[in-house]
C-alpha cells in the first residue's frame, strides 16, 4: 500500500509517456519492415530497404525537400516580419495598437479549413498561379502570429532598466539595440523560428488548398495513404523525429551544463568570498 502510494505518480507518468510514444515507435519499427502486400501495416520481415534506398519511390524525396525548402523560407520571412511587429507592439504607442494586438491572434483562432479555402479564393480571384509561392505566402501568414506572440513575451519579460543602463553607459539607440536588446531577445527569436519551421513543415490543410500541382511532404503522404504508404516515408519520418529529438536534447544538455557551471562556481570559497574590508 505504502509502496503503491509513493510510486503511483511515477506509474501514471510512464503510462502517459507510453501513450505518447507508441504511435511514433510503430512508425520507427515499421521503417525496418518489408511489407508483404501494398500496405505497410503488419510486420513481415526485417529489411533495410526503406533506409538504403530512401529515395527509391518516385516523388518522396522531392516532396520532402520541397517541404524543407518551404519551411525554411516561410520561417525566415515570418520571423523577420513577426519580430518587427512584436517590437512595434511592445515599444511604441500608436493608433490601432490594441486592434493590431487582437487581430494578430486571428490567424491562430481561425480554423485552418476556412483559412485555406479563403486564401484559395483570393488567389483564384487574383489569377495568381498556385504553386510553391502561394504555399509560402500562406505559411508566412499564419506563422507570423506565433512569432509575434513568442517574441512579444520575451520582450515584455525584459527588464526595461537594462536598456536604460545601456543608454546611461553611452550607448546610442542603435548600439543599445545591437549590444543589449537584440542579444537578450535572440533566444525568443530563435525559438519562434524553430516553431515556425515545424508549423510550416507540418501543415497539410492550408498547403493542400493552395498548392496547385505542388506536392509537399504531408500532401505526398496523404496521397500515398490511399495506395499504401511506402516504407521510405517511415524512414523519412523517423529522420524528422530523431532530428527534432536531437535539437531538444542539445538544448537541454546545454542548459544543464550552464546550470552546473553556475552551481559549481561558488565551490571555491577562496575566490568567491572576497568580501569588502570593514
Amino acid at each position: 500500500m505504502k509502496w503503491l502510494r509513493s510510486h503511483l505518480v511515477g506509474m501514471f507518468a510512464v503510462l502517459a509517456l507510453v501513450y505518447l510514444f507508441i504511435p511514433i515507435s510503430v512508425i520507427i519499427v515499421l521503417s525496418f519492415n518489408k511489407p508483404a502486400g501494398k500496405f505497410n501495416i503488419r510486420w513481415n520481415e526485417f529489411s533495410l530497404d526503406g533506409w538504403t534506398n530512401i529515395c527509391g519511390v518516385p516523388g518522396v524525396c522531392e516532396s520532402f525537400l520541397t517541404s524543407i525548402q518551404i519551411g525554411l523560407i516561410s520561417a525566415l520571412a515570418a520571423t523577420v516580419l513577426g519580430t518587427l511587429i512584436a517590437f512595434a507592439l511592445v515599444r511604441y504607442r500608436f493608433r490601432g495598437r490594441s486592434t493590431t494586438n487582437l487581430l494578430i491572434f486571428l490567424p491562430m483562432a481561425t480554423p485552418e479549413v476556412v483559412m485555406g479555402a479563403s486564401l484559395l479564393a483570393l488567389f483564384l480571384n487574383l489569377q495568381f498561379p498556385l504553386g510553391q509561392t502561394t504555399v509560402i505566402i500562406a505559411h508566412i501568414m499564419f506563422i507570423i502570429s506565433f512569432v509575434v506572440v513568442t517574441v512579444k513575451a520575451r520582450l515584455q519579460g525584459m527588464d526595461p532598466r537594462l536598456e536604460e543602463a545601456a543608454r546611461d553607459l553611452y550607448a546610442s539607440p542603435g548600439q543599445t539595440f545591437r549590444y543589449v536588446t537584440f542579444p537578450l531577445v535572440l533566444p525568443g527569436i530563435l525559438g519562434a523560428a524553430l516553431l515556425g519551421f515545424a508549423l510550416s513543415f507540418d501543415d497539410f490543410i492550408i498547403s493542400f488548398f493552395n498548392a496547385g500541382t505542388l506536392v509537399t511532404f504531408p500532401i505526398y503522404i496523404w496521397g500515398a495513404a490511399q495506395r499504401g504508404i511506402p516504407v521510405q516515408v517511415n524512414a523519412l519520418a523517423t529522420i524528422v523525429f530523431i532530428s527534432a529529438l536531437a535539437i531538444v536534447l542539445f538544448v537541454q544538455i546545454r542548459g544543464q551544463m550552464k546550470r552546473k557551471s553556475l552551481t559549481a562556481a561558488p565551490a571555491n570559497p577562496a575566490t568567491i568570498d572576497v568580501l569588502p574590508r570593514s
Binding site: 532598466r161 537594462l162 536604460e164 546611461d168 553607459l169 546610442s172 569588502p276
Partner: protein, 368 residues
C-alpha cells in the same frame, strides 16, 4: 589607481526650477539646488515623493517639464542620456545578464570607442575587490558583489556625477552596513560627486555629507545630517528623520533668549533661534533620546528650567542599547522616550507614574 582617480576638475551639479509633471500629478515641484562638487549628497524621502524622478531627470532618462540641469556652467538639460557626463547605479543593478563581469564594466568604455579597456577595467575591479570574478556572469555573483559591479560599471567612466538609486535596497541588513562603509570609501577615493536616493534615513545619515529631505515633490529641508536631525524645520522632517514628540501650543512670552510657550496647560521653554514657526501658534518638539525619565519620588533631581511632563508608563521595550518607553501624558498624548541602558538597577515599569524632563536647548519649534 591613477586610471581611476581623475585629476581634472569636477564641477557642481545645479538644478534650477526643475519641474516634472505626469498628467495632473506634479512629481517634482520646482526644485532648485546646488550639489557641491565631490560631495556625497542624499535625497531622502518616502516612495512617491519625487526623489527617483529627480534622479532620472539628472540621468537623462526622463525629460523635465521645465527647468534646467547644469554641470558647472554647462546646460545638459537637452542632452540625451548617452551624451551626459553622468552615470547611474540602478536599483537592483540592471547588470547585463548576457555579458560577463569584465564586459559589463567595460561596456561604457567600449561604447565611447576606447580601444584598450583592459588596464582600466582591471584597476576598477581591483578597487571594488572583484578582480577574481572578471569572467563570471552576473547571475553567478552574490547580491553584494553584483552591487559592487554596478558601482564599478558606472564609475569607470569617470562621470562628473554618480547617481545611486536605492543602491542597497536589495541587500540584507548586515551587508547593507558593510556596503555603506564601502561606498563611502570608494567615494572618498575617487572624489566624484555622489547623488544617492534612498528612503532609509539611517543610510542617508551614515553616508551623506548633505541630506535633502523630500516630500510631495519639494525639498523640505537640506543640510548636514546632524543639523537636520537636531533642528528639523518642519513636522514632516521631524517625523521622517528619526522620531519626535510634538506638542501644539502658543507663544505667551519671552524670557531672555528663550520663548515661553503654553501647551496643554503646561509652560515650556525653547531657545528663540530654534523656532522656525512664524506665528504664535507652533509645535514644540523634542527627540525621544533627549528626554530623561524619572520616578515621581525623584522630582528633586530635575534641574531648574527643564521642560517637564508628568505621565504614566504604558509600555516598556528593552532593545539592548536602550530602553524605549511609551508614556501617556495627562491630556492623552503618548510620548516616546528612549533611555540609554547605562544605569544599573530598576527600570520604570508599566503603570508607574513618572516625570519626563528635558533641557530647553534640545527643544525646537515648528510651524503648525
Amino acid at each position: 589607481m591613477s586610471t581611476i582617480t581623475s585629476s581634472r576638475n569636477i564641477e557642481d551639479l545645479r538644478l534650477e526650477n526643475l519641474v516634472k509633471s505626469f498628467g495632473d500629478f506634479l512629481a517634482v515641484d520646482d526644485i532648485t539646488l546646488t550639489i557641491p562638487a565631490g560631495s556625497f549628497f542624499a535625497l531622502l524621502g518616502a516612495s512617491g515623493c519625487g526623489k527617483t524622478t529627480t534622479l532620472r531627470m539628472i540621468a537623462g532618462l526622463e525629460d523635465p517639464t521645465s527647468g534646467t540641469i547644469k554641470v558647472g556652467n554647462t546646460d545638459i538639460t537637452g542632452l540625451r542620456a548617452f551624451q551626459r557626463p553622468v552615470n547611474t547605479v540602478f536599483q537592483s543593478y540592471a547588470l547585463f545578464p548576457h555579458l560577463d563581469i569584465f564586459e559589463n564594466v567595460a561596456f561604457g568604455l567600449r561604447r565611447r570607442g576606447i580601444k584598450d579597456v583592459t588596464p582600466a577595467v582591471e584597476a576598477m575591479l581591483e578597487l571594488v575587490e572583484l578582480a577574481p570574478m572578471a569572467r563570471r556572469k552576473p547571475a553567478q555573483l552574490s547580491g553584494g558583489q553584483q552591487q559592487r559591479v554596478a558601482v564599478a560599471r558606472a564609475l569607470i567612466n569617470q562621470p562628473d556625477v554618480l547617481l545611486l538609486d536605492e543602491p542597497l535596497g536589495a541587500l540584507d541588513l548586515k551587508l547593507r552596513r558593510q556596503m555603506q562603509i564601502e561606498l563611502k570609501r570608494i567615494q572618498t577615493e575617487v572624489g566624484t560627486t555622489f547623488v544617492h536616493v534612498t528612503h532609509d534615513q539611517e543610510e542617508a545619515m551614515t553616508m551623506a555629507d548633505t541630506v535633502a529631505v523630500m516630500n510631495a515633490g519639494r525639498i523640505e529641508q537640506m543640510g548636514h545630517p546632524a543639523d537636520v536631525y537636531e533642528l528639523p524645520k518642519t513636522a514632516f522632517v521631524a517625523n521622517f528623520l528619526g522620531q519626535a514628540n510634538l506638542f501644539s501650543g502658543s507663544v505667551t512670552g519671552r524670557d531672555g533668549e528663550d520663548l515661553v510657550v503654553a501647551t496643554n496647560g503646561l509652560s515650556m521653554r525653547l531657545p528663540a533661534q530654534r523656532n522656525s514657526a512664524t506665528g504664535t501658534e507652533l509645535l514644540v518638539g523634542v527627540r525621544p533620546e533627549k528626554m530623561t525619565i524619572l520616578d515621581e519620588v525623584d522630582a528633586g533631581k530635575i534641574p531648574t528650567g527643564s521642560n517637564l511632563v508628568t505621565g504614566l508608563v504604558t509600555d516598556v521595550s528593552y532593545t539592548g542599547v536602550s530602553t524605549q518607553y511609551l508614556v501617556e501624558a495627562p491630556w492623552g498624548q503618548v510620548l516616546n522616550v528612549f533611555e540609554q541602558n547605562v544605569i544599573v538597577g530598576d527600570r520604570c515599569e508599566v503603570g508607574d507614574p513618572v516625570l519626563v524632563h528635558w533641557a530647553p536647548e534640545h527643544t525646537f519649534g515648528l510651524g503648525s
